[in-house]
Amino acid sequence: MGSMVDAALPAPTAGAWLHGVVRDAGPATLARIGGMDGGPVRAVSAAGLVAVVSTAPLDEYGEQPLRRNLEDLAWLERAARAHHAVLEALARRGPVVPARLATVHTDDERVARSLTTRRAELVATLDRLTGRGEWGVKGYLVPGATAVGAEPVTAGGVGTAYLRRRRAQLNAREERQRLISAAADAVHGALCEAAVSGRRHPPQDRRLSGASAPMVLNGAYLVDVAALPRFTELVGSLGGRHPGLHLELTGPWPAYSFVAERPEPALTVREPG
């Protein structure tokens, strides 16, 4: 009889949405951090690490509902902001390894197992992030900063003149793009020198960046707390040195860009061994 009841146990009704992994976090700290549905986050401890999770009712965060919800922009925005807010609160207290959005386990036991399985890598990442923060530097094209030379006055018919002018315009555009791209490379290179590590992400589309000018640099830099004044000063001086670029510094961010086990080589500039 008892075994039959066991077999008919209902499936769990709530899983665990993983925000990130820290070395430790006291209950008092976690009680003040609101999770996915506004309720406080909680800790799942294993292997000397703490996973910070939100209780995730499976009728909303189970596989099918989650798939559906992620297609809903309003839901996605709320989830992304809630997840990010937890990570930001944790990052203010110490190193945190952020989990990608929508990492859901069916119960705490499974979260603990993930911590145990990935322990070595998580510990190494936390060590690397300690005392450092991620800063973003975006570079936008400055309108009109790369002036075109005056049109040469030449002999020839109207059609010839048009073609010549058009060719000159196209050449000038290529030259501008080359110069701007070189400036972005130079800025990224200089910032990498002042940072522990740097990554270049694809520039954001204008509809995403909300900027009127095209973005040509979307960099992320892992910066030692002690080196931060030098880094911010460098951003300012690089802006002065490259008038064709408008630079914008954001941060500190949780170290989203510096936790991947195998970063794409093309986007990695410098990673200390």
Binding site: L101, T146, L208, T250
Partner: protein, 127 residues
């Protein structure tokens, strides 16, 4: 961050603006939480790549329009959410990859025209 300082926004005028007044830009958050961060296999297997909204819309917008164009996808031109010039899509709904690939080819030709449009866009920034 261990120093516990408040987030700030610094512009290259050298001016440092205390932040926290404004929540971080949604685009900045989305590109981070969707594309970065550690991937730990959970039990609920929802690959973000399987999410049509993210795959066909946000992920490509995040990857920039140019990247999307390079792989021949121009869904935003039919999307009222993003484009004021929206037209209804020719063929809505998910399709199998072969069909998508077949449809992609004519777009490669159309891309040359778009480059010219982009050229004008850049020209607009010459002041």
């Amino acid at each position: 961050m261990t120093a516990g300082q408040q987030p700030s926004v610094v512009q290259n005028s050298g001016q440092v603006l205390p932040a926290g007044h404004e929540p971080a830009n949604l685009g900045d958050i989305l590109e981070r939480v969707l594309d970065r961060g550690i991937v730990i296999a959970g039990d609920i297997r929802v690959s973000l790549l399987d999410i049509e909204l993210l795959t066909l819309k946000l992920r490509l917008v995040i990857a920039s329009v140019d990247t999307a164009r390079q792989i021949g996808i121009d869904w935003w031109e039919h999307d009222p959410w993003l484009s004021s010039r929206a037209r209804p899509p020719i063929e809505p709904g998910p399709r199998d990859p072969e069909e998508v690939e077949a449809e992609r080819r004519p777009r490669v030709a159309a891309r040359a025209l778009r480059r010219d449009a982009e050229a004008e866009e850049w020209d607009g920034f010459d002041g």
